[in-house]
Amino acid sequence: MSITSDILRGHTEAIILSHLLEQDSYGYQINKDIMKKTNNTYELKEATLYSAFRRLEQAGYIRTYWGDETVGARRRYYAITDEGTKAYNGYKQEWQEAKAIIDKLLK
């Protein structure tokens, strides 16, 4: 499990970008979706999620805005930028190459 979570942690930013590509979202929603997609086997720690947000924001890959909820607390939404989309595509390409190599090597 520790290797799995190490590898996953290394791809936190790509995972977030992938999710934001589908739709704008907020912190908990992203985590909830990750859990759903992985059948409750993987969940990001809040702190990990937010340090990834910070890095992505500084890189200009995501932007944030305040939602206009009429009920309940106002949420900060995260959205992917054009550069973010570009970065994500490059990332995915690299991952596929790496995956192909590892698949060949670990037989």
């Binding site: 912190g27 908990y28 809040e46 702190a47 990990t48 924001e57």
Partner: protein
């Protein structure tokens, strides 16, 4: 239980920098935790389990703290605080000195020079002249704002703060100038009045001072508009 979650975050953020960013982040994380807690309860978990699950999924928030540092607009850095204390101390000293000068002039025999001269009036004028310096110092100290250094990521907030900072600085200068004008006006009023005894007309000095102040205010506004365009 929800209160307990909040308390847990209070504890975690105890060592976080006291900044707007940190407060926002804490609020956001609490909101997420509450949503998660509600979902877990709705799924049939016990309050205890839900609480434990929420707390376990927070992770190490300390790694976030360094990024939350920012210069707080409302607390002065150490260097400026010392400068401010120094200015205030010197100013108070000068006020006392001015008072001493005034009283010692009052003690001088009015006929000591052989002819009559009202030394207490002269003392008042000199004391007031001395008072100009500490007044300016105090006004400046009261309007001192910390230097705002722009960070790498120049988003809207940074720009806004920079604009605010520069307008704060302008305000400090503006207030210093108007305190100079008014102190000078008072001093001139007494000096001219006591030397000419034209009390019926010398009050016009205050009108002139008002006029000068308006002109300076106008210059500042025009300059400000110019730099923004």
């Amino acid at each position: 239980m929800k209160e307990k979650i909040k308390q847990h975050f209070d504890l975690l953020f105890n060592e976080a920098p006291k900044t707007r960013k940190a407060l926002d982040l804490k609020q956001e994380m609490i909101q997420n935790a509450m949503d998660k807690y509600d979902d877990l309860i709705a799924d049939g978990n016990s309050e205890r389990d839900a609480y434990q699950n929420v707390i376990d999924s927070i992770g190490d928030v300390h790694e976030l703290f360094p990024e939350l540092e920012e210069k707080n607009l409302f607390t002065l850095p150490e260097k400026d605080r010392k400068k401010k204390a120094m200015l205030t101390a010197v100013a108070v000293g000068l006020y006392i000195f001015a008072g001493a000068v005034f009283f010692s002039f009052g003690l001088i025999d009015n006929t000591s020079l052989g002819y009559y001269l009202d030394f207490s009036n002269l003392g008042l004028v000199i004391a007031m002249l001395i008072c100009i310096a500490p007044t300016i110092m105090l006004v400046y100290a009261a309007n001192m704002y910390p230097d705002y250094t722009k960070k790498d990521n120049d988003d809207m907030v940074e720009k806004y703060k920079e604009v605010r900072y520069s307008s704060n600085r302008q305000k400090a200068v503006k207030r210093s100038i108007s305190s100079i004008i008014w102190t000078l006006a008072v001093v001139l009023y007494f000096v001219i009045s006591f030397t000419t005894y034209d009390w019926h007309i010398t009050w016009i000095i205050f009108l002139i001072a008002l006029c000068i102040q308006s002109i300076i205010g106008l210059i500042f506004t025009l300059k400000d508009d110019g730099s923004r365009l």
